[in-house]
Amino acid sequence: MKPRIAVIDGGTYYHHRALFGERYRSYFAEVIYIRDLWNTPLAHFDAVVFPDRLHPGPLVAARRQIAEYLDTGGTVAAFGESQSHTWLPGLAWSPRPTNFWWWKTPGARLPLYAATPEHSLFRHLTIHEATWHVHGVFTPPSGTTPLIGLEGDGALLYEDTVTTPGRMVISSLDPFYHYGSYFMPVTERFLHGFLEWLAASCSGPRASP
């Protein structure tokens, strides 16, 4: 059965293109406007996706509701530039200066790596498709699974099934903004792979409340 994935809409132009546009709309059973989140029931969703660059204010206001959803075994996928450390538990966030022009230097590389290459995520995307730029890193708590790492530094994406009874997929990447702005084609491939993986990973039975 197709998993029921909800996604939060920040009301910006880029969220509109990324969430309501034809490319990804079919992945989402429901698009929830950010200011409606506080009184929208989440329990029947297999996963809730929080795209990058959401205004954290309404998410902080909905913090208890998000925590209750995780407590009942829900899956939250939260992307970057939304101050997710202010509305999700157990996140250790460190911003980093963003060099968006690194690839203009001959021979330069952005040193990202697959921290757990055998993880099912990498059946759906490669590290190359996660490589555009860095806004910051998380320090994954002990017992969690780092997925995309920055060499000598923290994680750009990790999976946490220990902090709550649910599952948190935490990332500092901002693919929705870039795809929604018609900027950087690699982010389109990333989103495709990520959403394919998320849907596949939610196909098992969801923990009962």
């Binding site: 809409d9 920040g10 009301g11 910006t12 132009y13 880029y14 509109h16 293109r17 406007y33 950010i34 200011r35 660059r53 959401l54 205004h55 954290p56 204010g57 309404p58 530039e81 101050q83 911003p95 968006f100 022009w101 203009k104 702005s181 018609y182 900027f183």
Partner: protein, 210 residues
């Protein structure tokens, strides 16, 4: 007192307008979701970022129109998706054939862009496309200031006098003030935008050239 108000959008790193020495004391910032309770009538200029929740701004249309009727200047950046004034139209992305299509062309001089080299808009750190990737179609009577791709290309930036009062400046891309701390001529835009807002309109200024 600052004469310009920026609607902030929950950014972790504050807008350069609020931190850059050339602009910080001239701009107040309030959270976009506090707009309904704010007394915006005390400001001459209101700045809407490309990161604004446009679905929310649609619900603020009456307040925005009153601000303009009172003679205010509204500056709108970003791709218009939910037009929050009735004369605005949704964004049209550029049909990209080559990177030359991202080139910015100035077609009418304006104090906001005085001394700004269009190459500094076309390229940022050597990368094309930061400034504009399409256009918000302008209403009748707008004065187009810059176009994309060619001197006859899509209208990227424009200004118009609103029927009933007020002026609107639209930039169909990233925030005009994002260059405030960059060491290039485009850094002039942010302070010049504030100069323009703070100055009385000259006769005929910002009207369509005939």
């Amino acid at each position: 007192m600052a004469e310009t108000l920026l609607l902030t959008c929950g950014e972790e790193i504050p807008s350069p307008l609020l931190t850059c020495p050339a602009t910080a004391s001239r701009v107040d910032g309030i959270d976009i979701y506090a707009l309904a309770q704010a007394d915006i009538g005390v400001y001459r200029g209101l700045l809407v970022s490309a990161h604004a929740d446009q679905r929310f701004l649609v619900t603020m249309q009456e307040q925005l129109e009153q601000f303009l009727r009172d003679g205010g200047i509204l500056v709108i950046c970003g791709h218009l998706t939910y037009p929050f004034l009735p004369e605005l139209s949704p964004f049209v992305p550029l049909a990209l054939r080559s990177f030359e299509d991202y080139r910015v062309w100035r077609v009418s001089e304006h104090p906001v862009f005085a001394g700004v080299d269009t190459d500094d808009l076309t390229f940022r750190k050597g990368i094309a496309g930061f400034y504009g990737r399409g256009h918000n179609p302008p209403p009748t009577g707008a004065r187009v200031l810059q176009r994309l791709s060619s001197p006859d290309g899509p209208p990227l930036d424009y200004v118009y006098h609103r029927l009933g009062g007020g002026r609107v400046l639209v930039h169909s891309g990233n925030d005009l003030w994002m260059y405030a701390n960059d060491g290039i001529s485009a850094r002039r835009i942010a302070p010049q935008l504030l100069d323009w807002i703070e100055s009385p309109a000259l006769p005929g200024e910002d009207r369509e050239e005939t």
